[in-house]
């Protein structure tokens, strides 16, 4: 932080200059007047928070900024300063413990950060200095250094590309770890720089570091000895960003312009905002209540004390005189210190140990997620990953699930399934070995003729091979003519995608080719063609090479590419074959192709296409057209003209495209499958069954996304779809805004107003035959809804939109930009009732929504690790979400909710007798319990059972939870931590506290409790109360425990035994360090009294009686209002339990 501040301070000087000037290779231009090289920060990345020296003060400061810690510190200080009833040790010791443990944990984490920093900072890089190549550590890079970076290396800082090993002065880069785009981007060297970097004498003037990744403005002055300095402008295409990786290029040289914390990557880094769970909010609310109780208790006692002391003879009887100092103290000061003393006496009601236990529970509990073998994916050989343990219980509270489609619901693994040529259906069967293995299935069409003509087949395959924008991944060994052995790094799979057969894992090397394309569909098509014998070999300066079935290499000159766009929904290429024919191949969605081909051809194929579409495949139709020289010349001219147009270029291009793509003849259709993730549909069904609403947020096209939704059973056959997309908006032919308004109101009427039954039963619709609504919106429309022109409309639309969405079972948002995804999440998150949201995704484009949602889940998918890194939890597959939420989340929530309630309860009934005792000891702040008991109660006697409970409890066993998704609804909306249960627990605590105190109080009506007539004193009184307390509180937990493992047994009975043992031990010795031997033999004497035994047993039983009664009474009536619905669940679960596990009662 200091560094940054320093930089900022230094930067002020720089800012005046408004830009930075860098000498390439530190060769200051000779003709420049005395040039002072400005100072820039070094290339060190500092993500650690502490150093060895500032760790202690800084960490302590950070820790005491937490309100709870600060509170305990204050209490401790009050104890030190003011004469208080309990020694500072009683609260100082736990506080010290907490602070130490936290400090150790944070220190360890920071050490890890230091290590990671070092790894980055010490990474060796090659610096060119005076013609020599010097290996340096990354952190030593200075602005102006000329670096050499090899293929697949990551750029150590922001560089201006000076030289590339490629002939065309370009290099390829992926920015997957920056923005998640995994495609290769081309960057260019600064034009006209000399090949000899040594003699390059240049300065770069560029703007100050700023975080926008796609913006860069700069100038390069090149000084040549005998010429005027040349000036070249620099843009983002010359800038290589730190964090991106060099691909397909052997080496590049570049000059460092931004380093260290000034790189765009570092500037883009935003600290993850701390996510707080709803449970924590509940804790804070409860804490407030208890704080009020505490203060009011102290106030009551202080007031009563002074009222009582006003009576003659009470304040200072002859037997109990005050010291001179006490007498001299100012009355108001005395009142104040009395108030503080009472606060200290009762401060145990807010237990410091609760924070520790909650933290421990979360930390340890999260291990169960990583340990779960069901989350282990044999493919990637990894299990689940927990990045934060703070949100475990939030997994049990999810109401909205936002899921990405590609890679999350689907495998992002496009696969060529079948094609249809001239009306004949071809299905690829197995890994067809012979090149002619073009199998024809017995489709209904092809009764007469089994195969389309070979000519047609080949035309179709050529079309597939040519009509695309795919690039072949070049291998470094290309020169040796080896084409195999490439790992396809873009889509990460071998060609043989039928991996399910097991064969796909080891594809034969011939078939391994890497293709790079913006859309995986194209790759799938090219690969599909390859499978049938037509291999696309790549470009050779505007020439496309394909290898035909007969192993001939055919060359086609690529004349024009008519790019794909979502409105036209097709793309075309115009090629010229060797024979001089000019051909146009076009592929696109059926709806956009059919009107442009001869109608008699359509019918034959339409059937196939429709069948494929209903099967959830992505279908494309392929058409072609012969262009005679005249036609081509016209098209060529039109295209060229349109491309050069300065105004309305888009429209003009479109017009030419439409003109060219007419009168084609349909060759066939393809079906490509984006496979669903394993058990995607089951998972979605379970989530919906659990009462969660699933929203699909995707950047994909609506049709594909819709078919995926159907395949995942998010939309069902009877779901009525409410579409709010660009298409529906344009249907009416009116202004978009008006139409939007109209549609919103109409849908709102449909989904919200006219369907009150649905509204009430949204949570039930999944099973019943209620009318379901599905809502579809696309990005453009969404931005209209959210950013409507007028302010008033905007909020109204937003409201309407939200209400519609909330009444739909599923919502599909397609064509979403990453930021829009986050916007949607944010909108739902902040809507009424602030529901808990969960985002799940695998790509970098999901990061924003993962960060925005309450719980972010990353899938360890193919699109890099960006999502995983930013997520709270990472799982290998979508199917694991079910167990994560339904089993783990549910259990964690129940555990922590019980933990919290129990903690408040046990401290209330701990402190209440002490409060009541004040009424009997002249409000003198006399503690009822010995200091040792006060300290140990929360640390030793009652902490372990609840910790074990909160780690091991399974009130319903996992199988049942997984089988009955509905159980998840029982704890929805923070069901166990709302005010109802809280008051129940508080009441229980009050009841127990009253019982303990007055039970013993009446026993002490005659303190002669031993059979030898001897009497008990105040410490015996406290010890009896405390014994009852410890036993009751522990047994209460035992009553709540539904899952008794040996650990529970050990801990529950162990801590009771420990209490007894400790009491004997503590009272058995004259402790030399104690000022007063208050408990000497008190416990042993207590146990020698039959009456004490009897009263302890009686009070324990009486305290637990209502609890037992409630269990019994509640049962026949089902879940009791206000009570935890847990019992109700149990009832449902019991039946299943008996099937799954033998109950040994």
């Amino acid at each position: 932080m200091l560094r940054r501040r320093l930089n900022r301070w230094l930067g002020r000087d720089e800012r005046r200059v408004d830009s930075r000037t860098i000498c390439v290779g530190h060769r200051s231009s000779s003709n420049n007047e005395a040039f002072i090289p400005p100072k820039f920060c070094d290339n060190r990345i500092v993500s650690s928070k502490y150093t060895v020296w500032n760790f202690l003060p800084k960490n302590l400061f950070e820790q005491f900024r937490r309100i709870a810690n600060f509170y305990f510190l204050i209490i401790f200080l009050v104890q030190v300063i003011v004469d208080t009833p309990t020694s500072p040790v009683t609260s100082g010791l736990p506080l010290f413990f907490v602070i130490t443990v936290t400090a150790i944990k944070q220190g360890y984490e920071d050490w890890l950060r230091h290590k990671a920093d070092n790894e980055v900072n010490k990474y060796p890089v090659t610096v060119l200095e005076q013609g020599r190549r010097i290996r340096k550590e990354s952190e030593k890079i200075k602005v102006g250094d000329v670096l050499e970076v090899d293929e697949d290396e990551t750029f150590p800082c922001d560089l201006i590309l000076l030289q590339s090993s490629r002939d065309d002065d370009t290099c390829f880069v992926t920015t997957a770890s920056l923005d998640g785009e995994s495609n290769h981007k081309t960057h260019y060297t600064v034009p006209d720089t000399e090949k000899d970097l040594e003699s390059l004498n240049a300065t770069i003037e560029c703007e100050h570091p700023q975080p926008d990744l796609y913006k860069f403005v700069g100038r390069m002055h090149i000084y040549k000895t005998d010429q005027e300095p040349a000036v070249r402008s620099l843009g983002p295409e010359n800038l290589l960003l730190k964090g991106s990786t060099l691909k397909n290029t052997q080496t590049i040289c570049g000059v460092a312009i931004y380093t260290g914390m000034e790189t765009k990557m570092a500037l883009n880094y935003q600290g993850k905002s701390q996510k707080r769970s709803a449970v924590e909010k509940s804790i804070n609310a409860f804490l407030l209540v208890y704080l009020c109780i505490l203060v009011s208790k102290a106030l009551v006692c202080t007031t009563l004390k002074y009222v009582w002391q006003n009576k003659p003879g009470q304040d200072e009887p002859w037997y109990n005189e005050k010291t001179q100092r006490e007498k001299d103290t100012n009355l108001y000061l005395k009142m104040f210190t009395d108030f503080l003393s009472f606060m200290v006496l009762f401060n145990f009601i807010i237990p410091v140990s609760m924070y520790v236990t909650v933290e421990m529970q979360k930390f340890l509990g999260s291990f169960f997620i990583t340990w779960d073998k069901d989350f282990f994916d044999p493919e990637i050989k990894e299990g689940a990953l927990v990045n934060t343990s703070d949100l475990n219980e939030e997994l049990g509270q999810v109401e909205y699930v936002f899921t990405d489609k590609t890679g999350t619901l689907t495998q992002n693994n496009m696969e060529f399934i079948e094609c249809c040529i001239d009306g004949f259906q071809y299905k690829y069967q197995d890994a067809g070995t012979d090149l002619d293995g073009f199998c024809v299935t017995d489709g209904p069409v092809n009764k007469v003729q089994h195969k389309a003509g070979r000519e047609k087949e080949e035309l179709f395959l050529r079309a597939l091979c040519l009509c695309h924008t795919v690039q072949v991944k070049e291998s470094p060994e290309q020169g040796q003519g080896q084409r195999d052995g490439l790992m396809d790094q873009v889509d990460g799979l071998g060609v043989d995608g039928l991996g399910a057969d097991g064969e796909g894992l080891h594809p034969p090397p011939q078939e391994q080719r890497g293709f790079i394309a913006s859309s995986p569909d194209e790759v799938a098509l090219v690969k599909g063609a390859m499978r049938y014998g037509f291999t696309f070999l790549g470009f050779e300066s505007k020439t496309m090479k394909i290898l035909t079935r007969d192993n001939d290499v055919e060359r086609y000159e690529l004349l024009h590419v008519l790019n794909f766009d979502p409105v036209r929904r097709r793309m075309s290429v115009i090629v010229r074959s060797k024979s001089g024919d000019t051909l146009l191949f076009c592929k696109g969605a059926d709806s956009s192709i059919f009107p442009r081909v001869r109608q008699e051809e359509v019918e034959r194929i339409r059937m196939n296409v429709e069948r494929n579409a209903t099967e959830g495949y992505r279908t494309l139709c392929v058409a072609y057209k012969h262009l005679n020289a005249e036609e081509y010349a016209q098209a060529d001219a039109g295209l060229r003209e349109a491309r050069l147009a300065l105004q309305d270029r888009e429209e003009k291009l479109m017009a030419v495209y439409n003109q060219v793509e007419t009168g084609m003849s349909l060759i066939g259709a393809t079906a490509v499958e984006d496979r669903l993730q394993e058990e995607a549909a089951e998972t979605m069904e379970a989530l919906q069954g659990a009462g969660m609403k699933v929203w699909v947020l995707t950047g994909d096209k609506m049709e594909t996304a819709k078919s995926t939704c159907y395949a995942c059973r998010l939309f069902q056959r009877n779901t009525e779809l409410l579409e709010l997309t660009v298409r529906t908006l344009e249907d009416g032919g009116r202004r978009r805004e008006e139409r939007l308004h109209e549609l919103l109101v109409e849908y709102h009427k449909k989904a919200v107003q006219d369907a009150p039954a649905v509204k009430a039963g949204v949570t039930r619709t999944w099973s019943s035959a209620n009318h379901d609504y599905g809502f579809i919106i696309d990005g453009a429309t969404l931005s209209m809804v959210l950013n409507s022109s007028s302010e008033s409309n905007s909020s109204r639309y937003k409201n309407l939109f939200l209400q519609i969405c909330q009444n739909c079972t599923s919502v599909l948002c397609c064509r979403m930009a990453p930021l829009q995804k986050a916007q949607i999440v944010k909108m739902v998150k902040n809507s009424k009732g602030s529901p808990i949201t969960l985002s799940i995704g695998d790509g970098a484009n999901d990061v924003s929504m993962i960060l925005e949602a309450h719980v972010g889940i990353g899938i360890k998918g193919k699109e890099g690790r960006q999502a995983v890194r930013n997520s709270d939890y990472a799982i290998p597959k979508l199917k694991h979400l079910k167990k994560l939420l339904l089993a783990h989340g549910h259990l964690y929530y129940v555990r922590i909710a019980h933990l919290v309630q129990y903690f408040f309860y046990k401290n209330l009934c701990f402190i209440l007798p002490q409060f009541l005792y004040q009424f009997f000891c002249g409000y003198s702040q006399q503690p009822l319990y010995d200091a040792a008991y006060l300290t140990m109660y929360n640390i030793c006697f009652t902490s372990m059972p609840i910790l074990a409970y909160s780690l091991l409890e399974q009130h319903i066993c996992m199988e049942v939870l997984l089988d009955n998704a509905t159980l998840y609804r029982g704890i929805a909306k923070n069901g166990m931590l709302r005010w109802g249960p809280f008051f129940y627990w508080t009441l229980l605590g009050v009841f127990h506290g009253l019982l303990f105190f007055f039970g013993v109080r009446y026993l002490f009506g005659n303190p002669a409790l031993q059979d030898n007539g001897q009497v008990f004193g105040n410490w015996s009184y406290g010890t009896i109360v405390f014994t009852v307390l410890v036993f009751t509180v522990t047994l209460k937990l035992a009553l709540d425990t539904r899952h008794w493992t040996w650990i529970n047994h050990f801990v529950i009975w162990g801590s009771l035994a420990f209490y007894v043992f400790f009491s004997f031990f503590w009272g058995g010795i004259i402790w030399p360090f104690l000022k007063q031997q208050r408990l000497y033999f008190v416990f042993a004497n207590m146990l020698s009294s039959v009456s004490a035994w009897l009263v302890i047993i009686l009070l324990i039983l009486l305290s637990l009686l209502p609890e037992i009664l409630l269990v019994v009474f509640r049962k026949p009536r089902g879940p009791h209002a206000g009570q935890l619905s847990q019992e109700g669940l149990l009832q449902t679960a019991r039946l299943h339990l008996s099937h799954h596990l033998p109950i040994s009662t």
């Binding site: 109990n320 009997f920 000891c921 033999f1081």
Partner: protein
Amino acid sequence: MMASSYTAKEEDGHITVSGPGALRSRKPENTAFKQQRLPAWQPILTAGTVLPAFFIIGLLFIPIGIGLFVTSNNIKEFEIDYTGVDASSPCFNCSQSFSWNSSRPCTCSIPFYLEQPYESNVYVYYGLSNFYQNHRRYVKSRDDSQLNGDPKSLMEPSKECEPYAFHENKPIAPCGAIANSMFNDTLELFYNDPNGTKVQILLNTTGIAWWTDKHVKFGNPGGNSPNLTAAFQGTTKPINWRRPVFDLDADEGNNGFINEDFIVWMRTAALPTFRKLYRIINKKSGMVPTLPRGNYSLEVVYNYPVRSFEGRKRMILSTISWMGGKNPFLGIAYITVGSVCFFLGIVLLLIHHKCGNRNNNADISN
């Protein structure tokens, strides 16, 4: 966080370079604990399991309660308030004319009549009311190491003893408010024989304090040296005491800090109304009751002022049972809880019987 992104980058690199085979397996161990499948006992409280418990509790508690109640009722207790608030009270004069400095002790005699003979050992208690022995300032005003016989603490009493730590620059032994306010009325019992003679009843001064207190917690300075006067040399008596600590009892084993009256007093009472064991009247051998029916008189040497804080002083004669002194609370509580349990058991049984059938039907229909 930022650093973690770099490490993750490293991982990415590994995946592309080495392929899946080279990754070390991180398969979670399949142990019962890690998979949360530890064998567990899963008790479910049902009416079926709870009902018998209720009956058992009922059946156990009611007899215990009755036993306790009967025992408590059989304990004979006699209480006499000798504060002397009423003008008619024999101790009225003493209570009125009390002054700390009076050299001549005021005595008064209160006659009373025991309607029942006390057969077993009789325990004599003194009771004080509205006396806050549990006041914080009071409770902490002691020095346990001084009382344990530590010579250092004897001469330098703890600060907690203030303002009863030093008197005229001499350390007070025993120091503190508790010791200073030790109960110092002398109670003597006389049996008025029907034949007119007044027989003093022998009151046993030992066995009234906890054994561990007397033998471990409390100890005279100088160990077992017979000369207590020398041991307490240099200290002064508590301000309100009439005699120094080494002069509490003639008996060597009951003098100084290990005087049992003192030890009993030092065990601070839990509530402002309390009783403390004063003397024990041991049962004589044979069939003679310890205290036969008849007229008695309580002779009080009235030293202890309680009127200033509206306190009361009582003398209690009580026999003792296995459960201690007379206290009907436990018996009543046990009987009540037992009957409630039993009653609840019956109610639950009825409810369970009715609803159980209904539930079963519901289950089937589901």
